[in-house]
């Protein structure tokens, strides 16, 4: 076991082969360290699965199994059933990309939710099939360049709008579905903890910037995720049993250009008149989402500013780590 850090488990530890600056690695590390080693993690095929278990070297310090691409929710349901049958209470957590969630994974996910399994399904949304070389997915936003939706003489990039998955999930009237992103750790932490407190199916969609596929500087992964939220393009919302229960209010609304110009996948929009029209379209999409969820006037003190503030000693941490030399089993016995 890698025990370099006394303050977090590093469930997903070093040596994995994610790209430098990977938003998904960052998000998964946050989520799994918040949940801890006493859980069973099922990984759908995708970037996270590949880079964390590459060439027979595993970066997982908790029980983890690769399902295949589309069936992570079903495999997790099987694990949960086994635990249920044996009276064991251990969280079962799926980690999938937008590929394994929005499109090919949707069938199994819907079945798992419909049957009410006690499973937390986490989708790390990097808005394309990244692992196979940046092909578009149902999650890819409008006008984005991907290898299967390239801009060209008669194309503006991906024609269709990003699938509103969180609404689809919420339409199951399931206990808890929420969106989050890496830039706001206290918000993500609260949502993971809320999810774990619920018995039944729960779903988290975490926007995870991809320096390679979104074509931005590796150092800007957090900045890009912050702007996705501050422009209104990625609302941070919580839905319970189909109804919006809480949103994170935006302290200010930034124009979408601030977000788009940092990423090469939108570069083609800045070249010509057609592109400018698309930028206006994207702005309209952002405005619509803001209006729909009331992101500028929600009656809450939970804002993009309040969620960002740092303080001496940090804002929230992970589950306590068992002291070195004590086996996990003994530690549990000691309470």
């Amino acid at each position: 076991m890698d025990r370099r850090d006394r303050f977090r488990h590093n469930i997903l530890t070093s040596g994995h082969s994610a790209c430098s600056g990977c938003g998904e690695a960052m998000a998964s590390r946050m989520v799994t360290d918040l949940i801890g080693p006493d859980a069973i993690y099922i990984g759908a095929t995708g970037c996270l699965q590949v880079f964390s278990s590459h060439n027979q070297r595993s970066a997982w310090q908790a029980p983890w199994m690769h399902s295949v691409f589309s069936n992570a929710a079903a495999v997790a349901a099987g694990v949960e059933a086994s635990l249920q049958a044996r009276g064991k209470k251990i969280p079962v957590v799926v980690q999938a990309g937008d590929g394994g969630t929005f499109d090919i994974g949707l069938q199994c996910l819907s079945g798992m939710i419909e049957r009410g399994h006690n499973v937390l399904f986490v989708c790390y949304d990097n808005e394309a099939y990244m692992n196979t070389g940046v092909q578009r997915s149902g999650s890819t936003p409008h006008a984005v360049r991907t290898s299967t939706s390239p801009p060209g003489r008669v194309s503006e990039g991906k024609h269709h709008v990003k699938k509103d998955l969180i609404s689809i999930i919420a339409a199951h009237h399931m206990p808890y579905a929420a969106t989050a992103t890496v830039a706001y750790f206290p918000d993500l932490k609260a949502k993971v903890e809320k999810a774990l407190s619920i018995d039944g199916p729960k779903f988290l969609q975490i926007l995870s910037p991809c320096p390679l596929g979104w074509n931005h500087d590796a150092a800007l992964s957090v900045q890009v995720s912050r702007l996705a939220v501050e422009t209104g393009l990625f609302p941070l919302v919580e839905l319970e049993h189909g109804e919006v229960s809480r949103v994170m209010r935006l302290s200010t609304q930034k124009p979408v250009e601030d977000y788009l110009k940092l990423q090469g996948r939108f570069l083609h929009l800045f070249n010509d008149k057609q592109g400018k029209t698309q930028i206006r379209h994207i702005q309209a999409l952002a405005d619509t989402r803001i209006r729909r969820y009331g992101l500028l006037d929600a009656d809450t003190n939970w804002t993009s500013a309040s969620a960002s503030i740092v303080q001496r000693g940090g804002r929230g941490t992970y589950l306590p780590v068992v002291p070195a030399g004590m086996s996990d089993h003994n530690a549990k016995a000691q309470g």
Partner: protein
């Protein structure tokens, strides 16, 4: 690992640090507030302690370099605030009000300075130091030496200690009892204070009753001598002596007012000069119900951004407050002659100024003929600069004695109390080096290494600067200051961005995608075996503690 076994190995055998083309380096840096502080206070450090309501610890940290916080919080021109990076977010941290608050709290609670060592092993070798001048430079020097176990005696010609702090700064700006209490705290370290005593060999204009000690006996009796005698010789208009009661020097006026003398003043007074002394004089006069015009050779603040030497030297805050109190300021103007009718002063004739400094850089205004303007005044006070009065001390400075050290205004430093305090500290260290043969350890910091561009302001909430009540005191029309309280002081200290100094916010640790940042009990370390050099830690560090360095491949 056997190829036929089914369990995979661990990824920690894959040292992804080899991927790096840039490397993060964590290093505490010296923020701009500390760099601009003439006393080199570790402002960030004491604000951090204050933000946790550790008041005494904060005071100790502050007084490591400056023993007069209650004084300086009131009178310092706070360059730290001009440099404060917080101004790029909303407004600078109210450092001077914090300093003032801590100073007052120390006095209220009777906190004592603690010696750094008690000279148990006689490390000081029983050496004695004489400090000439009980102004900020001398007090600072004596304090630093006393902290380190040395025997110090301070001599001052005046009746009270404090130097220009006592004689030159009016009560409304610096209450005398505050100054006295902070000096007492220094003396409690075992420093001897001898007042009403001049060091010197010839007769100067010494007040009475008076002791005089020759330079020779000083050299004999003391192992080191620090001269913090200030610059107390006022420059005189056209080098004339002021023989009538209509013309005074600013220093003289202030000294007399501060000593409580009842002056009979006419309604209209002209004050010549643009320094803090001139403004102090003007504000005093307003409180004594006079109509005041300040005639200043320089331009207003902000007129010469590239060349601040051409702007009014008094601090902006003082100038603004003076104007709010009704002081009229005329810029780029100098006095050409005094206008009398008989023995009665009617006013001053002024002219527009062309150049302010001559080609040697000396203050030497050139007046434009034909621009003469009359300003009515029955009293003119010249506050046009001061020089050092070495009279009687030639023996100490001419022969280049190695045991003589000079600091503060006397050493030609910029004329600020804070600079004097800093000078006192530096000289104390030099004295220790001279006496013990060993350079004492102390932090030296040169250029500020963290600008606001190194910060990530997304992580700080905007908040209003907690101000001492800078509004008008009831009915008086004058601007006075009221201290912060514990709650507002804590809030204000929390506004410090901690530029360049890690405050353990956990950002880098949360964000590293590769578990290459390890959290320890009170810091973070980087595991370079795995760091891929993405740069996220440096980008998201709010305070600029982490930088990316390019990796050079051989």
């Amino acid at each position: 690992m056997s190829k036929l076994s089914i369990d995979p190995g661990s990824s920690v055998t894959n040292l992804t640090g080899s991927w790096r083309t840039q490397t993060p380096v964590m290093k505490n840096k010296w923020p701009p507030c500390g760099q601009t502080c003439p006393a080199s206070e570790d402002i960030q450090a004491w604000l951090a302690l204050a933000s946790e309501s550790q008041w005494q610890a904060a005071w100790r940290k502050l007084t490591a370099r400056n023993p007069l916080p209650a004084v300086m919080g009131r009178v310092c021109y706070h360059p730290c605030e001009s440099a404060c990076n917080r101004k790029h977010l909303d407004s600078a941290v109210n450092i001077h009000a914090m300093e003032y608050f801590l100073g007052e709290m120390a006095l209220a609670n009777g906190w004592q300075h603690q010696k750094l060592n008690d000279n148990e092993n006689n490390a000081t070798g029983g050496k004695k130091i004489a400090v000439v001048g009980a102004g900020p430079a001398g007090l600072s020097c004596a304090y630093q030496l006393a902290l380190r176990g040395y025997a110090v005696t301070i001599f001052d010609a005046a009746e009270e200690a404090g130097g220009t702090l006592w004689s030159g700064i009016p009560e409304y700006r610096l209450p005398k009892n505050i100054l006295k209490q902070e000096i007492e705290a220094i003396l409690k370290l075992g420093v001897t204070l001898v007042l009403n005593c001049t060091i010197g060999d010839i007769h100067g204009n010494a007040p009475h009753p008076h002791k005089r000690i020759s330079t020779e006996s000083l050299i004999t009796d003391y192992d080191a001598i620090f001269l913090g005698i200030g610059a107390l010789k006022p420059r005189l208009f056209q080098n004339s002596q002021y023989t009538d009661q209509h013309v005074l020097t600013g220093m003289d006026f202030l000294r007399r007012v501060n000593q409580g003398e009842e002056l009979s003043l006419p309604k209209r007074v002209a004050v010549i000069g643009g320094g803090n002394t001139a403004i102090d004089v003007a504000r005093c006069l307003r409180r004594l119900d006079c109509d005041v015009t300040v005639v200043c050779a320089q331009d207003p603040h902000g007129a010469h951004l590239a060349h601040p030497g051409a702007e009014i030297p008094a601090s902006e805050l003082e100038v603004t407050q003076a104007q709010r109190e009704g002081v009229e300021i005329i810029y780029r103007t100098a006095v050409s002659r005094l206008v009398y009718s008989g023995k009665h002063l009617n006013g001053v004739e002024t002219c527009r100024v062309d150049k302010i400094h001559d080609r040697h850089g000396n203050f030497n205004p050139v007046l434009f003929e034909g621009t003469e303007t009359f300003i009515a005044a029955n009293l003119v006070i010249f506050a046009i600069g001061q020089e050092v009065d070495w009279c009687g001390l030639e023996r100490l400075i001419d022969s280049g004695l190695s045991k003589v050290f000079i600091g503060g205004d006397a050493a030609g430093n910029p004329r600020f109390a804070a600079t004097a305090i800093g000078s006192g500290f530096e000289n104390a260290m030099s004295i220790i080096d001279y006496l013990s043969g060993q350079k004492p350890y102390f932090d030296t910091h040169k250029k500020a290494e963290v600008t606001y561009k190194n910060l990530n302001l997304s992580y700080y909430a905007q908040s209003h600067r907690q101000t001492e009540n800078a509004g008008e005191k009831e009915n008086s029309g004058f601007v006075d200051t009221i201290s912060l309280n514990e709650s507002t002081a804590c809030k204000e200290a929390l506004r410090c961005l901690s530029c360049g100094v890690c405050f353990y916010c956990d950002n880098c640790w949360h964000f590293c995608p590769d578990a290459a940042i390890i959290k320890q009990a009170d810091n973070y370390t980087i595991d370079y075996d795995f760091c891929k050099g993405c740069g996220i830690c440096a980008q998201e560090c709010p305070c600029g503690y982490i930088d990316m360095h390019t990796v050079l491949h051989e």
